[in-house]
């Protein structure tokens, strides 16, 4: 059986499972059966994808099914790029299924989740495999709808209905943009197969339009600012393992679509396109993490942080496009590999963090960080795994997030060779934005972890929480281990990505496996190198040495006592720093500009014993400046057009006649 056929069998299995789940979903064992089966199928698909990426055979395998458009059929193809993204999808799918085995038991309405979960996985697999525009769009829409159904799983909770509505509108808009993009790509001849599109020549104006449409279509799914508004509403509304899939995996499927069209189908990118991508990517990175910093809902914070990471990936892709437009093959391979590595890394730690948020939700029923606290004492295993995820996402060595950001910085340092002045001036600023985003990410995750897991419990729910089940913990620990492994052995991952880079940018990074001590060396050792393994070994060795010496030769005495409270030691847990107060310095530095943030203090007059009140005013300028006017305009127009519903038959007939004549006139003038 060819590699693509194996993948399609897994997809068929998932689709069958979705149908089976409808019948089964009311029974007691349904949760175990469905998640067990999706785990097995994802694992098979993952193995297949790994084999085809690591197997060394660079030939793509194709498969045509006699469904879809009658003259076209449905084409599916597995090449190196698709294999890599299948790994991301199925690894995410497998870990989410494993997590779901435990987490799913707490679901109040399993029959609303179980049928759509396998369907969602199947949809994501199909988008990556599709090899013609028609099946691509069909699968894309299938994926969107399945995920929409999962967002609406708990539709009675406040806010979820709105989240689903915004998501539906944005998803339809995105698909429309993609439809138009593929229409332009296929040209007047209308050949929708990717092979034909790849072979065709594309006029510069249509390439520009395709870029804009892809940024609208794939960008809105991935969460590029200012098209991100649905993401922090919809991702947290779904059950946590689905949130992990949507944030960790579905955004990557959108990035896959962007890479497929911009790098593969459209041919050589141009430098103005790269400037647009760099600009949007850097804005997205900084805005995303600033939004996250202001957030006090744990899952929404994670969703905003996804937006930041998508920005980082787009910056890296923009660099790759710029290098390619200038014919700098090696630098393009470096930036492209960095982007893919960040895609992989982000899928690890973002899934892990959403699983952690789900565990907190299971244990406490609470998503508001300012009502949590002290969970490290009551959920020791979860808090350890989440700590690993927080360190990794903050891009700190020796974990994996640092490696991909390090590679992106190395790519930035290659860019003085670019010939265009606009890019020369832009790239340092983009580098500064990336550095700012990385530093703010660390601040944001100190806040997320510190407020949720450390300190004292701020509410009764946090006080009585208990550890979660073993399936959830296993899933979290596997991902935590992957975060560490990808951080200390990045050379292996970079070498595994070589076929993808060769296929897409026509060059690869130098082989890393032959480097001594498993270092990674992007260009040459005298320029830059990094060895995560040794960094970890050194830190572990020096830390244990210090512990040993101090405990052996100095003192090991320890006494517990109350915390120092300046003579005011019975302060309530409410006196601790909360998430809102932790963000105050950063809100004051950045928020006044970005969110028009203002703090209002209401002080009671002297002698009055009422407490003082602090009210914080934040404005989402993207929403109020862009979406609210559009929504108002649509509302205005629809009220105006409303009376068309109540016309007499004569008027309708004349309306139809007038429209017909106008259209014919337009056609006559056009041709």
């Amino acid at each position: 059986m060819s590699a693509v056929a194996l993948q399609m069998v897994c997809v068929a299995g998932l689709l069958g499972l979705a149908v089976m789940a409808i019948a089964l979903s009311r029974s007691q064992t349904a949760t175990a059966v469905i998640y067990g089966a999706t785990l097995a199928l994802s694992a098979i698909a993952l193995t297949g994808a790994l084999r085809s990426l690591l197997g060394g055979s660079t030939d793509a395998t194709t498969l045509t099914l006699p469904v879809g458009l009658p003259w076209l059929g449905a084409h599916f193809r597995l090449d190196a790029l698709a294999s890599f993204f299948l790994i991301v999808v199925n690894l995410g799918g497998a870990s989410a299924s494993l997590y779901g085995l435990g987490y799913g038991h707490h679901d109040p309405a399993p029959h609303r989740v179980l049928p759509f979960f396998p369907a969602f996985l199947a949809g994501m697999n199909l988008v990556v495999l599709a090899d013609d525009a028609f099946s691509y769009l069909l699968c894309w829409e299938f994926m969107s709808l399945a995920s929409w159904a999962l967002v609406m799983a708990h539709h009675r909770e406040p806010g979820n209905a709105k989240a689903g509505y915004v998501y539906l509108v944005m998803a339809s808009f995105g698909t429309l943009a993609l439809l138009l993009a593929f229409g332009l790509l296929a040209g007047p001849a209308g050949d929708y197969g990717f092979t034909a599109i790849r072979a065709a020549q594309h006029a510069p104006y249509s390439a520009t339009l395709v870029l804009i449409l892809m940024l609208l279509g794939a960008g809105s799914k991935a969460g590029l600012v200012p098209l991100h508004v649905w993401l922090p509403l919809a991702h947290p509304a779904a059950p946590s393992h689905v949130s992990a899939l949507m944030s960790g995996v579905m955004t990557k499927v959108a990035i896959y679509g962007f890479i497929r069209v911009m790098f593969d189908l459209l041919g050589q990118p141009t430098w103005p396109a790269s400037a647009v991508v760099l600009f949007l990517g850097s804005i997205t990175a900084v805005m995303g993490i600033l939004y996250a910093m202001m957030e006090k809902d744990l899952k929404r914070l994670l969703a905003y942080s996804t937006i930041e990471n998508i920005g980082i990936v787009f910056v890296s892709l923009g660099l790759a496009m710029a290098f390619q437009a200038n014919g700098m093959k090696l630098a393009a391979a470096l930036a492209f590999t960095a982007a893919l590595l960040h895609v992989l890394n982000h899928s690890f730690f973002k899934s892990l963090l959403f699983f952690g948020a789900g565990a907190v939700l299971t244990a406490t029923g609470e998503r508001d960080m300012d009502k949590l606290g002290g969970l490290i004492h009551r959920m020791p295993f979860t808090s350890f795994a989440v700590l690993v995820g927080c360190v990794a996402i903050s891009a700190l060595p020796p974990f994996n997030g640092f490696v991909s950001e390090w590679l992106i910085f190395q790519a930035v340092l290659q860019s003085p060779e670019l010939t265009q002045w606009a890019l020369k001036i832009m790239v340092p600023a983009v580098g500064a934005m990336l550095a700012l985003a990385a530093a703010l990410a660390a601040a944001c995750f100190v806040k997320a972890y510190g407020v949720t897991f450390l300190g004292r419990a701020r509410g009764p729910a946090a006080k009585t929480a208990g550890e979660v089940d073993r399936f959830s913990l296993t899933a979290m620990f596997i991902l935590a281990a992957l975060c560490l492994l990808a951080g200390i052995l990045p050379g292996l991952a970079i070498d595994a990505l070589a076929p993808v880079a060769t296929q897409i940018v026509g060059s690869r990074m130098p082989a890393q496996a032959s480097q001594p001590w498993l270092s990674i060396v992007p260009i040459a050792e005298s320029r830059s190198s990094y060895n995560g393994l040794l960094v970890m070994v050194f830190i572990a060795a020096t830390a244990s040495l210090a512990v040993y010496f101090i405990h052996r030769f100095a003192s090991r005495a320890l006494r517990r006592g109350p915390a120092w409270g300046c003579g005011f030691s019975d302060a309530t847990p409410a006196a601790q720093y909360s998430g809102v107060s932790f963000a105050q310095p950063i809100r004051r530095v950045f928020g006044t500009l970005v969110f028009h943030a203002r703090d209002h203090v209401t002080m009671p007059p002297p002698g009055d014993i009422r407490p003082a009140r602090l009210r914080i005013e934040l404005h989402d300028l993207v929403w109020s400046g862009m979406y609210a006017p559009i929504a108002d305009a649509v509302g205005f127009l629809s009220t105006r057009l409303n009376h068309l519903q109540f016309l007499t038959i004569r008027r309708y007939l004349s309306l139809v006649f007038a429209t017909l004549v106008t259209l014919l006139l337009v056609l006559a003038i056009w041709s």
Binding site: L387, P428, A432, A435, S529, I550, A563
Partner: protein
Amino acid sequence: MVVISDTIVQGVQMLLVLLLAPLLTGYVRKIKARLVRRQGPSVFQPYRDLLRLMRKEVVLADNASWLFRVTPYITFAAIWVAAALVPTFATGLLFNWTADLIAIVALLGSARFFLALAGMDVGTSFGGIGSSREVMIAALAEPAMLLIVFCLALVAGSTQLSTVAHFLASSYVGLRVSLGMALVALFMVAIAENARIPVDNPATHLELTMVHEAMILEYSGRHLAMIELGAFLKLLLYVSLIACVFFPWQIALYGSGALSYTIGAGAYIVKLALAGFLLALFETATAKMRVFRVPQFLGAALMLGLLGTLLLFVSRSF
């Protein structure tokens, strides 16, 4: 044979920074005291403080978690590893290629990440205020530092500190505008990162303007000793960094003989003494600024770094 001598040089370097770090802090304190006409404690006082702290028992807050107890060691280890990777008296150290300048900055970031978490662990407002301000300062200092790294890397064509020092020690660098900007910016970042005046005051306790000291308020005994030693090491690291990049005179190049290593070590001590004196002079001459003035201070460093990098993007000869 080469490996053995390399290992010895690396080991000497690691021990040297560890042993010299408290002395540098003691020396700066002494100079500061003398500048305001006080006698001041002996320059060896920090060693005595460390020993005393290490022998004392730890008083741990009731709800402190394991994270609170491991953080001092993680922080210390991360800073020590970072400090061991900065060339002091010789370039081309054995483990130099383990991590470049970006990774050194990130290692310091790891140390700060854990320290800020530990500040949140006990659940008092002091820890929270310290942590939240520390991450605010870091959110501006780290990008500034990375832009300085970009600047140096573009001049020297490498982010590897040994290569950078090697290149800048060679004669054909000359005076450059971008390097001047990077030096000023690096100095400002170093002030902020080490919690020195005017950003923070290392000598105060229980004052609402403080940052670093509030964050570690709950620490005592050997844990506090580790954190203090880490802070000493960090100061030494930044001084060594400025010395090896901007003033690489007499630094022993890789593979040169024992004599040049000795000269290098002597020159390094002289550089430390000079830098410590200048730091004390600067600290005595300035006043502590309000905490919300710090973003402007660091913003200036960020802009200097960005300007330097931009100039280099325009032309390599700036």
